[in-house]
Amino acid sequence: MTTVTTVTTVSTVSTAAATRTTAPLGRLAAAEVRWVLRRPRTLVLLVLLGLIPVALGVGIALTGGPGGGDGDGDGPGLVAAVAGNGLVLPIAALGLALTLLLPLTVSTAAADALAGESAHGTLRGLLLAPVGRGRLVVMKAVGVVAVAVLAVAVVAVVGVITGMVVVGGPSGTLITLSGTTLGLGEALGRVALVAGWTVVQLLAVAAVALAVSAFTEHPLVVLAAVLGGLIVFGVLAAVPSLEWLQPLLLTSGWAAGADALRDPLPLDGLASSSLRALVYLVLGVAVTVWRMRRRDG
């Protein structure tokens, strides 16, 4: 008779829920993605990313229209190649965004995922629910991956649309840097290839950012560490006597995106830079898991 109180309260939920010790992973991941996408800064960054191909396209259309754009002197070669060749635009925009805004976007997501949650006191709530520490990393990784994929998709899709509408080109075809012409289908395939490759590179950045995020409760530390790290990589890569370092630097393979504009498609640059990114990814995830298993909530 005396255990009645406990029994009745528990019986208000289903039997599966009454015995399990952690919430279903799908529900956690869905809640995480919803949270990430409602965060104002995520939306602002996505809008800014969408503006990159638009600004690039409008700029090219205004200064060097078809026929008039040799574009030499200012601007990288890739951007110059966009003139009169609209489907190059998404690839050029992805390359441009990868230098700063895309890493910033995923670093922000990673910074908020652990350091930001800790600063708000909400990490404690998740650990007390309880979301197991391993699951917490999975849940957070899902949110960061969602941001990375979405960010690249925004640049690629807006880039394709802007390229076709504003810049235009030889009727839905792409002229490669090698001078050959690709049909619309193959051109879009090349854009998708670069987008996928960019996501892989970004996930490497995100994994490192998440690892830093696991150690601090100051989101700014994460941003400073990751963006500072990228700048240091850039400086190291520019020093000729440190050439032996090149294979270790994540950023040294980032020029490989332009390979997608060559014909036939050279894959070794894309493959080696993806492999390097995977090493960073594994290291970042391993450190994150190791740290989160020990971290105070």
Binding site: V4, L28, T122, R124, A129
Partner: protein, 319 residues
């Protein structure tokens, strides 16, 4: 320094009189050279409302954080609802907690914040909106539920934190300074919530620096100072042990003092009558002596110690 496991007050707990909701043994936590918690043994009897008292920085929050597995102890063991060691997290679905203030995201509404908490609750299934709305109603936040957390007052934030702890029926609820920033109505609401939890058979662990608050709602107390547990046990027993003698209300003060002196009990004039310090005669003998001497006795009561005096005595003794 060990806790008195006395008869728990509620029915649910009475079925398992030896049951403890939480138990720590030899618990110790150091941060560098600072000792935050020093060799604490504490039992929280099932069904009890235990008030944890202590000055700022006495280690209340550190102890609670270790109890919930948020901080690893330097030494010692923690057991929560029968789960301990690496299995401690298995107790957490049945534990609601408000620790170190409410933690929520400012850009979401109170309700959306709670929905996010609800998604992580193992005990919830299906539609999460019903339990969320019920919890909001329970803490009096239904009207402000759709406003952004950013705009909440301190008291509203605290209420939302309480709602998160109450999303699911709990067996143990841990509230760290729950009345922080609350107005008198809010304080009353917290008191009501704690009483409801106790009536439902839940165990409540409450830390506070408001002694009146603890005295009003708690059945047990534990007093911490500089990381050491000074005393713990049933509140009434502790207060009785600390109580003074008898207070006799009578108009015939002089006759009463005289009669008591003849009976062998020293007494002195007090407001409305005489006071008899403890240690001489028992209460029935005192009443018999007075009535035998023809002294009019309106009322005799034992002078109740207040938690405040007890607390002051304990914390000043050791200071």
């Amino acid at each position: 320094m060990t806790a008195a496991t006395s008869t728990p007050p509620t029915e649910a707990a009475a079925s398992r009189p030896d049951a403890v909701a939480a138990r720590v043994r030899g618990l110790r936590k150091t941060f560098g050279s600072t000792v935050a918690i020093d060799d604490v043994d504490l039992d929280v009897p099932a069904g009890a409302v235990l008030g944890m008292l202590g000055p700022n920085g006495s280690g209340k929050t550190t102890l609670i954080r270790m109890l919930l597995g948020l901080t690893r102890p330097t030494a010692g063991t923690v057991e929560l609802l029968g789960h301990g060691g690496d299995d401690l997290a298995a107790a957490l679905p049945d534990v609601g907690a408000l620790v170190e203030g409410p933690g929520f995201h400012p850009f979401l509404s109170g309700r959306d914040n709670l929905l996010r908490c609800a998604a992580a609750e193992p005990r919830l299934d299906g539609d999460l909106r019903a339990p969320v709305d019920a919890a909001l109603e329970r803490v009096g936040l239904a009207d402000a539920a759709r406003r952004r957390y950013r705009g909440y007052s301190l008291g509203m934030k605290q209420r939302l934190g309480l709602a998160a702890a109450l999303l699911v029926p709990r067996r143990l609820v841990v509230l760290d300074e729950p009345t922080n920033g609350l107005d008198p109505a809010g304080t009353r609401d917290v008191r009501r919530v704690v009483a409801d939890l106790r009536d439902a058979g839940a165990t409540v662990l409450l830390s506070s620096h408001l002694l009146a608050e603890v005295e009003a709602v708690c059945t047990h107390v534990a007093v911490l100072q500089t990381g050491t547990l000074l005393v713990s046990g049933e509140l009434r027993a502790l207060l009785d042990a600390d109580a003074g003698g008898l207070v006799v209300s009578t108009p015939d003060v002089d006759d009463a003092i005289l009669a008591l002196r003849e009976a062998g009990a020293p007494s002195y004039r007090a407001e409305g009558g005489v006071a008899v310090p403890p240690g001489s005669l028992e209460a029935p003998e005192i009443v018999a002596a007075l009535v035998g001497a023809g002294v009019a006795v309106w009322e005799v009561h034992r002078r109740r110690a207040h938690l405040e005096e007890l607390f002051a005595r304990l914390t000043e003794e050791d200071a």
